[in-house]
């Protein structure tokens, strides 16, 4: 009996040719195709990495501690999501709603971090003291050479990083922007399920496939971010990569 119930939860032993739930199968097919979508975006980012003719470059704008915090928030949202699903399967609807709200809030926090990051990149400015420039990146050295050659006290640039600034800006905003759009869509999906749970009989321990599919999508955006955080952010600032 317990195995039968577990099989139902897993979407198995359905009245289909494969014995598997078609909606769940379609979701996995979608996630597999979305892997290729993000794979193409990551490949494009890597192909054009270091090919920008003008700055700012990753080392000029990335703030690893801030991005680490947003990564932590997204990882925690994944835990919150599985706890929501676990609460539902145990017929704890109140617990399900609390964890769903928590997941949506953490997702929104992650998107907030991304908006902050995009804004700070777009308004990135450099102010170099010509008499004591300190350690400079290639981009800062370029500003120093141009600005300080006329005997000025300060060399400044308010160029910022926008999608049209250079190849890094174009590929970075496209990749992380699409990921942010996925997270935003996930938040809307989670909140829709939360609202549905207040309608009697719409979300129950037996009718949990909608929540299961939303959870799969949510965890997928988490694993995509795990790859982006390492490949784009950590490798991006590493000089030898």
């Amino acid at each position: 009996m317990a195995q039968e119930h577990a099989a139902q939860i897993h979407g198995e032993h359905e009245d289909t040719t494969t014995g598997l739930n078609h909606r769940k199968m379609l979701m996995w097919a979608f996630l597999g195709s979305d892997c290729m979508f993000f794979g193409a975006l990551i490949a494009t980012y890597l192909v054009y990495q270091g090919k920008s003719l003008a700055g700012p470059m990753p080392v000029d704008v990335f703030d690893i501690p801030v991005t680490s915090v947003s990564t932590f928030v997204l990882l925690m949202s994944s835990m919150s999501m599985v706890l929501a699903y676990a609460a539902l399967t145990k017929n704890n609807l109140k617990g399900f709603r609390i964890w769903m709200i928590s997941t949506a809030i953490m997702g929104a926090t992650f998107v907030g971090f991304q908006v902050y990051e995009f804004s700070s990149f777009a308004h990135h400015h450099v102010d170099i003291n010509c008499s004591s420039p300190g350690e400079l990146t290639d981009y800062e050295q370029h500003i120093f050479d141009e600005g300080c050659s006329n005997g000025e006290a300060h060399a400044e640039s308010h160029e910022g990083l926008k999608p049209q600034t250079n190849l890094f800006g174009t590929t970075f905003y496209t990749l992380t922007g699409f990921h942010g759009a996925h997270v935003t869509l996930g938040i809307v999906w989670l909140l829709s399920l939360l609202l549905l749970s207040f309608k009697k009989g719409m979300i129950t321990p037996e009718k949990n496939l909608d929540v299961d599919l939303a959870a799969l999508y949510w965890h997928f955006v988490d694993v995509v971010w795990i790859v982006i955080f390492t490949v784009v952010y950590l490798f991006g600032v590493f000089p030898g990569f």
């Binding site: 597999g32 794979g39 835990m79 676990a86 390492t230 950590l234």
Partner: protein, 101 residues
């Protein structure tokens, strides 16, 4: 270990405590990744180390949070097929454009 990860008898999924432990492991790995990032003496060794750590995080989320470890194997094949294809696309594009040759 097998008992630890055998999961909830009612649903076949891990328990809330096990989900929490996996979250702690994920956070610790992320903290180690960020810590390693600041260890400049590691040089190029940093890349394979970070690669292995992020692969571990990916696998933990896919196996336990996405329930691939407990679900029908066909779901795993469908996801892994997309993932492997994506990895090949990345690898071949990098070779094609002579990025790491």
């Amino acid at each position: 270990m097998s008992q630890d990860l055998s999961g909830d008898a009612h649903t076949g999924h891990p328990t809330a405590g096990q989900y929490f432990r996996i979250a702690v492991i994920l956070c610790v790995i992320t903290a180690v990744e960020v810590g390693i990032f600041y260890l400049e003496f590691l040089g190029h060794w940093m890349i394979p180390i970070l690669f292995v750590l992020s692969t571990g995080k990916f696998a933990l989320v896919a196996m336990y949070y996405m329930h691939l470890k407990f679900d029908h194997k066909l779901f795993t094949y469908m996801f892994v097929a997309g993932f492997v294809l994506a990895a090949f696309v990345i690898g071949f594009l990098l070779i094609l454009f002579g990025v790491y040759t």
